[in-house]
Each structure stands twice: as structure tokens, then as C-alpha cells.
């Protein structure tokens, strides 16, 4: 899969055969290979390319030291359950997970005292920063509702890093999250995956190399929002037509650019296609560089969306909310599509009427990729509790799932849906040292996250005020620095 190349000067970011993003640059390859005029066409203009990554990550891991945490109960996020183990991390990576680990000289050793350690929790669906607290009108930046297709907008351009919710999510063990636009539109725009570290800028949080997301939405929201304005879509039929029109246009746009590059490579001097930011996003999906995150509640609609994705040749990374995923869990498994779900939200709209508490475990049991997500600044603080409730309901219904497998819903599976499972989502050697030390069993309501590490750096410590981030907003306000 294509990865955005980070931390290079933009002109060197080689972009081959794709249309990602803003800003046109001249590819050095083009200059090298095609800079000379050819005999047939006379002077060939340099190849015009689309800059792949105009808002590059400037993330740097916070300071860390080699650390060994011993005497802990470990859930590694990929089904491993070590009753009395240890985790060694160094240079921001997991070095070893096991029962007896030798610590090299100079390693800081923490006796976990029987506490639990898990892979850090990853939320595929957050609006932190784009709907910041306090929820005043000026902070409502998460949905560009002015048109049913706003694939050209990017959530990252609206993120307020000073949202106090980020620190609260840290206290709940969240190490990584995807921040998405809202669901008013058929195409709501691009989402961005960030590391949950206190930052001045969005770029300082941006997960290096993580593919962007594209938020799409089924069902009631688009038809309600635009139907009320007497414009399309005003029905689920209109929704579907809206997606198909856009994808059909994207296929053409992609062909124009592919033809342009091919002709240029053949030594011709073709006309540069007109740039369209909306189409750039959709073509990014068709090229597999942008992952589709599709808000969709009803079983029948999810199956329609699967057919749609096959019609135009893209893949849905995850359905979101997916309140009826349990009805079509077999389709999800067969098509390798994740479902990002709540444990027990239901009934607030007609398409959420059939919610059941066993949705997550039923999707898991079908062999599909089940994810616990939040869509909430409160919910993101305890996704582990949502997993616990879902697990308990499964067991009460007679479905036995282990706690170690259930932790996949919180770390590995969301990492997979976000295209970063090769880097994080589990406690395996070589992966990012994103982990949480819990005061006890994280499936208990009485347990709290005591320490949260991102890339081996201590981001939050329940028992050490020097490791409790306080956003700018909180300074001088009632309760500044208080236990939250």
C-alpha cells in the first residue's frame, strides 16, 4: 500500500500514479527523465504532479528512557494473555514481551505489582478538536454541511489541539485516534489519524505515514439535512445516486490524470487536466491511498454500500456505528470489512432502533473485524468499559470470548482499520511502545489507567501531576489542574 513519505522536502516526495492532495509540484523524476525536448514534439513541458502531503506530520516522540515493566498481567491486543509478564521498551519501540526479560544496563525498571498492561487503546471515530469543549457555536467545526459532497475538506484543518478532551482521552488509555468529519454529508471529507500527545499544532500530533480516511455517510443524516433544504438527497435512493455520480466522476478524473501521465511519459506534451480537490480525495480512495470510513447503521444499507464499493473498485475499511452489523456479520467477514461499534447506544433514531448489546461480540464471532469506537468525548474516556459490557453480554448469551480476544476490539482491529497495524495496535517486538498500565483488571468499573505511554514516552500518570496535561483552555478556569 502506498504510504505518504514524511519528513522530506515536499518537492522530493515522489508521487507515482496518484492524485493526492493540494499544491502542484514538479516531480524530480519527470525532470530527470523528460526534461529534454524530444524530436517529435519539440519542447515538452515538465510533468505536473499533485503534491502528496502538503500538511506533513511534525510529530516527534516525547522524551523516553528504556523501561522494563515487570510483574504485570498483559493483554497484548492480538489474543495473548500473560498472567505474570514483563514488557521492555526502548527507543519508543516494544523490545520484548514475556515472562523473564533481561533488562540491559541503564534500563529503568518499574515493578508493576500485579497491575495490568495492555496495548494502548485506538479509537477509529473521534471528533475531538473539531467539536471542542466547551461546545459553543464557534467550536462546531466538524461538519461542512454546505453541500452533500464535501470530499475536499479535511478534518485536520479544523482540529483545535487545545481541546481539553484530548487529555481526558489520555486518562482513559487512548494512545491513537482517527478524527473524522461529521455525517451530514454523503462524503464528509478526510479524516486524520493522530497520536494522543499534548501539542501546539495538529501537525505535531499527526501520525507519520498513516493513510487519510474518507468519511462517507449512509442513511438518515444526509437525507434529513439536505431533504430539509429541498435538495438532493432527500431519500436513501438519493443517497445512493449521490455516491454513484461522484464515483463515476472520480473514475473519469482518474483516467484523465492517468492518461496525462502516460502521454507525458511517452514523450508527448499533453494538456494538464484541471485540478479538482474533491476528486483528488475520491481518486485517493480508488488508488488505495485513502481508507473509506463509512457511517452506516442498517444492515441492508451496509450491503448496498459493499456492492457500491465493488462497482467502482474500492474497499471499505470500516463501517461506523453499524448498529445492525450483527445482522450481516457474515458479509463483513467475507469482504474483510471492519465494523466500529458502540456497546449499547440505540434508539435515538430509527436506524438505531434495532441495536443490541451483543453487536460487537456477534461480529467478532462471525470472524469479522470488530471494533469498539466512541464518537463521543465522554465515551472515548472508557472504551475498555464498553468492551467489558459487550463481552459480558456475549457470555450471558452463551458466547464464550476471552478477555484477551476482546482486547483486539480496542487496539489491533482499530489499528487495522486505520492502516497502521504494522506499527501499533499490539504489544509485539518492533512495534510502537503504545501501552497502558492499569490499576487492575481493565474490565472492572473500578479500574483506572495509571500510566499511558505513546512511543515509549509517559504521556499521562494518574499519580504524578507532572505527567497530567492541562490544556491552555483550562488555565485560570474553575478547576484548573483539578482531578478530572
Amino acid at each position: 500500500m502506498y504510504r505518504i513519505i514524511e519528513n522530506r522536502s515536499s518537492a522530493l516526495a515522489l508521487v507515482t500514479g496518484l492524485g493526492l492532495v493540494l499544491g502542484l509540484v514538479v516531480s524530480p523524476r519527470a525532470l530527470a527523465q523528460n526534461g529534454e525536448p524530444t524530436a517529435e514534439t519539440g519542447e515538452q513541458k515538465p510533468l505536473v504532479e499533485i503534491k502528496a502531503n502538503p500538511f506533513p506530520s511534525t510529530y516527534r516522540p516525547l522524551a523516553s528512557e528504556p523501561t522494563l515493566i515487570t510483574n504485570v498481567h498483559i493483554l497484548d491486543g492480538v489474543g495473548g494473555n500473560l498472567l505474570n509478564g514483563a514488557v521492555l521498551m526502548a527507543d519508543g519501540k516494544i523490545v520484548a514481551v514475556g515472562e523473564d526479560i533481561e533488562a540491559p544496563a541503564g534500563t529503568k525498571i518499574i515493578d508493576g505489582g500485579g497491575r495490568w498492561v495492555t496495548a494502548g487503546i485506538i479509537d477509529t471515530h473521534s471528533h475531538l478538536g473539531v467539536y471542542s469543549s466547551p461546545q459553543v457555536r464557534a467550536h462546531a467545526d466538524g461538519n461542512e454541511v454546505s453541500s452533500p459532497n464535501t470530499a475536499e475538506v479535511w478534518a485536520e484543518h479544523a482540529i483545535l489541539p487545545q481541546d481539553p478532551g484530548f487529555a481526558r482521552a489520555s486518562a482513559g488509555g487512548i494512545t491513537v485516534m482517527q478524527i473524522l468529519p461529521g455525517s451530514a454529508n454523503l462524503f464528509g471529507g478526510r479524516g486524520v489519524t493522530v497520536k494522543n500527545v499534548p501539542s501546539r499544532t495538529m501537525q505535531d500530533m499527526k501520525f507519520p505515514g498513516a493513510p487519510p480516511g474518507l468519511k462517507m455517510a449512509c442513511g438518515e443524516n444526509p437525507k434529513r439535512v439536505y431533504g430539509a433544504r429541498k435538495q438532493a438527497p432527500s431519500s436513501r435512493m438519493g443517497n445512493m445516486a449521490g455516491y454513484r455520480k461522484a464515483w463515476a466522476a472520480a473514475v473519469e478524473y482518474k483516467r484523465d490524470w492517468d492518461d496525462y501521465r502516460a502521454d507525458h511519459a511517452a514523450g508527448k506534451d499533453p494538456k494538464v487536466p484541471k485540478r479538482d480537490l474533491q476528486m483528488d480525495t475520491l481518486v485517493g480512495v480508488l488508488n488505495g491511498e485513502i481508507l473509506v470510513h463509512n457511517h452506516c447503521y442498517r444492515a441492508d444499507e451496509m450491503v448496498n454500500m459493499i456492492d457500491l464499493s465493488k462497482e467502482f473498485g474500492y474497499h471499505v475499511a470500516s463501517f461506523h456505528h453499524a448498529v445492525e452489523a450483527y445482522k450481516i456479520a457474515d458479509y463483513l467477514a467475507a469482504n474483510d470489512i471492519c465494523a466500529s461499534m458502540w456497546a449499547d447506544w440505540w434508539g435515538f433514531k430509527a436506524e438505531a432502533y434495532d441495536g443490541i448489546r451483543e453487536n460487537i461480540p456477534f461480529v467478532h464471532d462471525a470472524g469479522a473485524c470488530a471494533i469498539v469506537h466512541s464518537d463521543s468525548a465522554i465515551g472515548i474516556q472508557r472504551l475498555h468499559q464498553e468492551a467489558a459490557k459487550a463481552l459480558a453480554d456475549a457470555r450471558k448469551a452463551g458466547l464464550q470470548i476471552s478477555i484477551a480476544d476482546a482486547w483486539r476490539w480496542l487496539s489491533y482491529n482499530p489499528a487495522k482499520a486505520l492502516g497502521i497495524a504494522d506499527q501499533t495496535g499490539s504489544l509485539e517486538p518492533g512495534k510502537n511502545a503504545d501501552l497502558v498500565v492499569w490499576s487492575g483488571n481493565p474490565f472492572s468499573v473500578y479500574t483506572q489507567a495509571e500510566q499511558v505511554y505513546v512511543d515509549g514516552a509517559l504521556i499521562f500518570d494518574l499519580n504524578d501531576k507532572t505527567h497530567q496535561p492541562v490544556s491552555d483552555f483550562r488555565l485560570g478556569q474553575p478547576g484548573e489542574g483539578d482531578v478530572k
Partner: protein
């Protein structure tokens, strides 16, 4: 077998209606019985149920002959939980106006009625409650047996009158109608009073003064006494005035939605001005900042302990320790789900557990979802604890009731066992075995 066929009719107070019951006698033995009363928690405890009421609670009491015997086997046995604020039975689907019955006179952009009613405080939610609403069994099977059903807003600061119901799903669901008067203050209240707390509080004081005047016996020197109270120049519609009479006398609690510490102090002042008022705070995000004043004024707080974000400029002091700090200061607290009081009131056990994780002791957290709501709404003589003489709302749990992975094994309401079945469990059972589906699931019921 002796089976009582009496209809228990209780007339403890005006407006109080007890469910009719036709119940067997039950002996639950061997339980870890959380009485919620003076006896505390009893190991190897027995709970006896006769005629829909609790007849005895104690350690090691034998099951009398002829009783249905249930061995709790060491499991938790508690009273049924009571939600202190909900919209159970008055909204089937939030966004579908045709199913929503607790919002009147267009306080929300989603609901635009064709016409408005001239009154607000007189709005009586009890007529709007559907005991067959889907959310009721969904909530009941999680161990919640009673709920305060509250109106959610009008175009005035008076939101209307709440009711208390049982969740058995029968048509005699009313435990108490007109059980509280809801009032909006703070940001939502000020907007309904022209845009300022300065008008909202003046409006509220004037309304209460009119009620006070109307409640006083007529003096000879006045022309028409109470009759004059609803005449010209009055703020209140005569129906609203009538609804506020029991409120100003303190017979019905006035539940005021407020969060900002300064607003809560204004309400403490309001209670000084109207001494009989039974004032309750709903929300109270910053209540911990004025906990001592609330304790001294004996104002309880109904709160959501998970509300820890500065969600608005009136909730900047929000903290997960709100519940524990209020309890420590001597403020009576009750726990509600502020985010989803309709479909997910069932999550009050989780909220109570989270409060425990942040400093509240377990017994206090459990009281906040049982006896404290009963006290706040004046039904603690009948409900809220396992004590002889009270209505037999009893739950047997498979673990600690506040734990995430616990749930009820049996739920009794008024002494009758209720089925642990909801529309959700039926959907679950239909789709549970998807892998072995052989034909349309529509034939699977």
C-alpha cells in the same frame, strides 16, 4: 398453597398510586442481601415477599412453608434500582417527533408543533407515558424497577410535572403522578426567559410569589384572597398557578436544572426566600464548589458522575469527583444518565461504579440509585430499600451490581417476577446463530 388475592391499595399521600398486585409468596434465601436500610448488608440473608411487599429481611431466616423458594447461592440480592431522571416511556425514537411526548411548545429545532398550549408548569407527563415502550423492558432487565419520568422542556422555564413509574410494563404503571416540578435555569433557562439569568430568576421568584399568595388562606382585608391570585396582571396562567401550589408548600419537590456554581448559590438564596420549597438540583456540574452551602440548605443533587468535560461555560469545573465531594460534604446525591436518559438510563450502574472509582464509597453509590431517589421524590416509605413493609422490588444479581460484567438473574416488581426479555434479546436470539441460518430468519421467533 395459600395465595393471597388481595389488591394492595396504598393511599399514603395525595397523588400516590400503588400498583395492584396479584403475587405469590416468595422466599429468597442465601443471598448477600444489600438491604439499603439500617441493617446494612447481610450475608446468608433471606428476603420474604408476601402480597407484593417485603414481609421480612434477616440473616438465615428459613423459608416458610408454601413459599416459592429461591436459593440465591451467595449472589447479591438488592432492592430494584430507581432512575431519578429519565424519559422512559415518553419517547420511542428521539428523532421521530410522532413518538416523542415529553417536549412541548417547540423548545427544540427538531420539534415544531402546529400550535402551542398556554401553560407550562401544568404539563403533566403521566398521561404521556406508554408502559409498552420498547425502552421499558430494555431498562428493566438491567435491574431498574422504578423511574422518574420527566418532561424535557417547554417554551417557559417551567418544564412541567414528572411522574414515578414502575417498569413492569403493565397499565397500572404509575407509582406517583405529579411527583416533581421541573424548572430550567442556567443556559437553557435564561434563553427561555428572554436571554438572561437576570430575567429567569426574577420570573421564577415572581411565579413562586404568586403561588405563595394563592396558597395562603384568604385574609379579610383582601378582596378575594386566593381567587384574586389568578387575575389581571398575573404572570402565571391559572393552570400553572394551580400546579405550583403543592410546590410552594413543599409537598412536591422542585427540580431545577443548573450547573454553574454561581447559579447554585442563587438557588440556595431562593430556598432562603421560600422556606418551604423542597429544592433539588439536576445537573450540578459545579456543585462540588458550593457543596457546603448545598448541604446546609439541604438541597440534594441529581448528577451524572461521568460528566467531567467543560462541556459549556457553565460547567467548567466539571470533575469525576463531583459525586464523592458532594457526599463527603453531606449533600444527598442521586445518579442519572445525563447523556441518554431515555434509552440508556440502564447505564446508571456503570455511572455509579465510575463514581466509586473516583472516591465515592460503594454504599453511597448504591444509595444514589436506590434510596436517595426514593427520598428525593417522597416515596422512601414504600421503595428504595429492602425493609419489611416496602414494595417488593427485588433483584438477584450474578455479581456486584455496579460492575460492568454483572447483570440481573431475576427481577421482581411488586413481588412479581418479570421476564428478562426485551425486543433486544429477541433480536439477539434471532441473529445469534447466523452461521447456521437455513432459511429466512423472519420465521424464527
Amino acid at each position: 398453597m395459600s395465595r393471597s388475592m388481595t389488591f394492595a391499595i396504598s393511599l399514603l399521600a395525595a397523588g400516590l398510586i400503588s400498583s395492584s398486585v396479584l403475587a405469590e409468596n416468595v422466599a429468597i434465601v442465601g443471598g448477600k442481601v444489600v438491604t439499603g436500610g439500617p441493617e446494612g448488608t447481610i450475608e446468608n440473608g433471606t428476603v420474604l415477599i408476601v402480597d407484593g411487599k417485603i414481609s421480612a429481611v434477616g440473616a438465615g431466616l428459613p423459608a416458610p412453608e408454601g413459599y416459592r423458594l429461591i436459593d440465591a447461592g451467595g449472589r447479591y440480592v438488592t432492592t430494584g434500582l430507581m432512575v431519578p431522571y429519565s424519559s422512559l416511556g415518553v419517547q420511542e425514537i428521539n428523532l421521530e417527533k410522532s413518538t416523542v411526548d415529553h417536549i412541548v411548545n417547540s423548545p427544540s429545532p427538531f420539534f415544531k408543533p402546529a400550535s402551542k398550549v398556554p401553560f407550562s408548569a401544568a404539563f403533566d407527563i403521566s398521561y404521556a407515558i406508554n408502559p409498552k415502550a420498547t425502552a421499558i423492558p430494555v431498562t428493566r432487565i438491567e435491574g431498574i424497577t422504578r423511574a422518574v419520568v420527566a418532561p424535557a422542556g417547554t417554551d417557559k422555564i417551567f418544564a412541567g410535572q414528572a411522574a414515578i413509574i414502575d417498569l413492569a410494563g403493565n397499565f397500572d404503571f404509575l407509582t406517583k403522578s405529579r411527583a416533581a416540578m421541573l424548572v430550567e435555569y442556567g443556559i437553557s433557562g435564561k434563553d427561555k426567559a428572554g436571554g438572561s439569568r437576570g430575567t429567569a430568576m426574577v420570573y421564577l421568584i415572581k411565579a413562586l410569589e404568586e403561588a405563595q399568595a394563592a396558597a395562603q388562606p384568604p385574609k379579610r382585608s383582601r378582596k378575594k384572597g386566593a381567587g384574586a391570585a389568578s387575575g389581571k396582571g398575573m404572570l402565571l396562567h391559572p393552570m400553572d398557578l394551580a400546579a405550583l401550589l403543592p410546590v410552594i408548600k413543599g409537598e412536591v419537590p422542585m427540580v431545577v436544572i443548573a450547573s454553574r456554581a454561581a447559579d447554585l448559590m442563587s438557588l440556595v438564596g431562593l430556598k432562603e426566600r421560600f422556606a418551604d420549597l423542597d429544592l433539588v438540583i439536576l445537573g450540578g456540574a459545579e456543585a462540588w464548589m458550593v457543596a457546603d452551602a448545598l448541604a446546609a440548605a439541604e438541597i440534594p443533587v441529581i448528577l451524572d458522575p461521568t460528566a467531567n468535560l467543560p462541556s459549556s461555560f457553565e460547567a467548567l469545573g466539571s470533575t469525576l469527583e463531583n459525586a464523592a465531594r458532594l457526599q463527603a460534604a453531606g449533600v444527598m446525591i442521586a445518579i442519572a444518565n445525563g447523556g441518554s436518559p431515555g434509552h440508556n438510563s440502564r447505564l446508571i450502574t456503570q455511572a455509579a461504579g465510575i463514581a466509586v472509582a473516583h472516591g465515592l464509597d460503594w454504599d453511597a453509590a448504591f444509595a444514589a440509585i436506590t434510596i436517595n431517589p426514593a427520598r428525593i421524590f417522597g416515596v422512601d416509605g414504600q421503595l428504595g430499600s429492602l425493609e419489611a413493609g416496602k414494595l417488593a422490588d427485588v433483584v438477584i444479581w450474578d455479581g456486584d451490581p455496579l460492575e460492568l460484567m454483572s447483570s440481573p438473574d431475576m427481577v421482581f416488581i411488586n413481588g412479581q417476577e418479570t421476564p428478562l426479555v426485551s425486543r433486544q434479546t429477541k433480536l439477539r436470539d434471532r441473529y445469534m446463530d447466523l452461521k447456521n441460518m437455513t432459511g429466512p430468519l423472519a420465521y424464527k421467533k
